[in-house]
Amino acid sequence: MAQIAGVAVDDEIATRISNSIGPAFEGFAAIAGTLPFDLEPSSYVLAQNQKVSK
């Protein structure tokens, strides 16, 4: 991945990256691949501007 990005990292760094960011992938696993087709990132601004009443 890092090579594709054009940034050189050795095996030790690759292992450390994997250990460090790996749990975030695990935490997000239940969401990944489940989102509906029509959902765009801009839906966030719509949710943000939605008036929420008690």
């Binding site: 990005a5 050189a8 990292v9 460090s20 975030a24 969401i31 959902l39 966030y44 719509l46 943000q48």
Partner: protein, 471 residues
């Protein structure tokens, strides 16, 4: 109210200068005196501009004598996190790479405070490129906690938290991408306002993660935070993401009562595995809010660990994209901790990043639905009080990585949702370290948080307590 100029709140000193009860010059001199005493112990300032500040104070006093008032901060000396560009001035961003970077523009947030009359005292220390939760900095040394200099301040707005708590500036801009305002507020005993994402323009503020970065103040009181937010918030032609949502009267909001307000206490996550003293302070804070008239109810929030994970993925990818050129050309000029964090972003595929971004809308909608019955949610800013500088360093032993993860556990989900959150000093540990609680609000409803924070501060004195100068 203190009559000692350096110990006044921002609101008090601004009023005292305007009413000519104290001059800007006197106030600036008093702060510079305290800075000279404390800076060797705290390392909170990146630069101290004594001569220029005193000269600007004299000019402010001369203007006032002629009846010329620039605005609500006329003649008030302030220092801010050294990542807010000020045209013609160096902005190091806490880094070696930008050690000599001279800004060519002035950040909108800072310009609005300058237009209101603030004068520049210097700049405040921060984590390198605002990418660190503790206050360590490989190039300029750690910033120290004024309540115990062996302990961290929290980051990345480390200098802001330390300087406000030690009364070296009346308030300071911080920035919050993963907890960088709320953690220093919690660890140092300051009041810190993480604003709704897009409430305050980010133009001219060093970027870390465009989807998560927010600009906000640290100050002594909720009232002071309200004053600064009122000056900074609103649309900006220089930042197309700055929201056009209507503003509230934030200062007036601080006069409100808790009666009729509903505050939610999470049923899980934010109350799990807390340090015993943080748990005690949470209970005590809830009791005060209840006594003052708030209705306390339990809330079931959606899975916060998923939000935390998504927040980490977005931050890692966006930060690596900003820094990619320097990661290739100047990797040796980063501190090892920060370079490691930036390298994490290389492992996030574009599809995963975009999935996280696409999920933000439904995630916020789910949060809104879960909290529809309450005005705010209360939670600790962090599960623990300030650890020591040594134990939270990356080389600080086998437990350090887990400790670092734990520090930001309760702040990152809020960044992913872009919600406002006010951290208020709420108690102290037996060993004398501050503990802060965060009040998490609805999007663009900073006003309600300021109402709750100010009402809490009217009946408690945690925000008034003063750390002692180390011997």
């Amino acid at each position: 109210m203190s009559t000692e100029p350096a110990l006044m709140t921002l609101t008090e000193v601004a009023r005292a200068i305007a009413m000519k009860q104290v001059s800007s010059h006197e106030v600036t001199r008093a702060l510079l005196h305290r800075i000279a005493q404390w800076q060797p112990h705290l390392n909170a300032f990146m630069s101290i501009e004594s001569e220029a500040a005193l000269k600007a104070a004299e000019a402010a006093d001369a203007e006032l004598a002629k009846g010329e008032v620039r605005g609500p901060l006329h003649g008030v000396p302030l220092a801010h996190k050294d990542m807010y560009y000020d045209a013609g001035k160096v902005s190091t961003c806490g880094s070696l790479i930008r050690r000599d970077f001279v800004a060519t523009t002035t950040s909108t947030a800072l310009q609005r405070l300058k237009d209101a009359g603030q004068i520049r005292l210097g700049t405040l220390h921060l984590a390198e490129f605002a990418y660190g939760p503790t206050g360590h900095n490989a190039h300029y040394g750690p910033v120290r906690n004024p309540w115990n200099v062996a302990h961290i301040t929290g980051g990345s707005s480390s200098g802001s938290g330390s300087a406000v708590a030690a009364r070296l500036t009346y308030a300071a801009l911080g920035s919050d991408t993963g907890g960088s305002i709320r953690m220093p507020a919690h660890f140092c005993g300051a009041t810190g306002l993480k604003t709704t994402w897009s409430r305050v323009s980010r133009a001219g503020a060093m970027p870390l993660s465009q989807s998560l970065d927010t600009v906000g103040p640290l100050a002594r009181t909720a009232e002071d935070c309200a004053l600064l937010l009122a000056l900074m918030a609103g649309p900006d032609p220089e930042d197309s993401t700055a929201s056009h949502e209507p503003l509230s009267d934030y200062v007036a909001a601080t006069k409100g009562s808790l009666k009729g307000l509903k505050i939610g206490v999470p049923a899980s996550f934010y109350v799990d595995d807390l340090d015993g003293e943080v748990a005690r302070v949470l209970d005590e804070t809830i009791a005060v809010l209840k006594r003052e008239g708030a209705d306390i109810v339990k809330v079931e929030l959606p899975d916060q660990r998923q939000l935390q994970a998504a927040s980490q993925l977005v931050l890692a990818a966006e930060a690596a994209a900003f820094h990619k050129r320097w990661m290739i050309e100047r990797p040796q000029d980063y501190g090892p901790q920060v370079l490691m964090r930036l390298q994490n972003g290389l492992a996030v595929p574009a599809i995963t990043y975009l999935e996280a971004m696409r999920w933000r809308g439904p995630a916020l909608a789910a949060h809104n639905a879960a909290t529809a019955g309450v005005d705010a949610v209360i939670a600790p800013a962090s599960p623990v009080p300030a650890p020591t500088i040594e134990e939270s360093d990356v080389g600080g032993g086998p437990n350090a990585p887990a400790l670092l993860q734990r520090l930001t556990l309760f702040t990152r989900p809020v960044n992913f949702l872009g919600l406002p959150s006010l951290t208020v000093p709420s108690g102290f540990t037996k060993s004398g370290l501050p503990v802060g609680m965060q009040l998490i609000g609805r999007s663009f409803d900073e006003a309600t948080l300021l109402t709750i924070g100010a009402a809490f501060q009217r009946v408690t004195d945690y925000h008034d307590r003063l750390p002692k100068l180390p011997s």
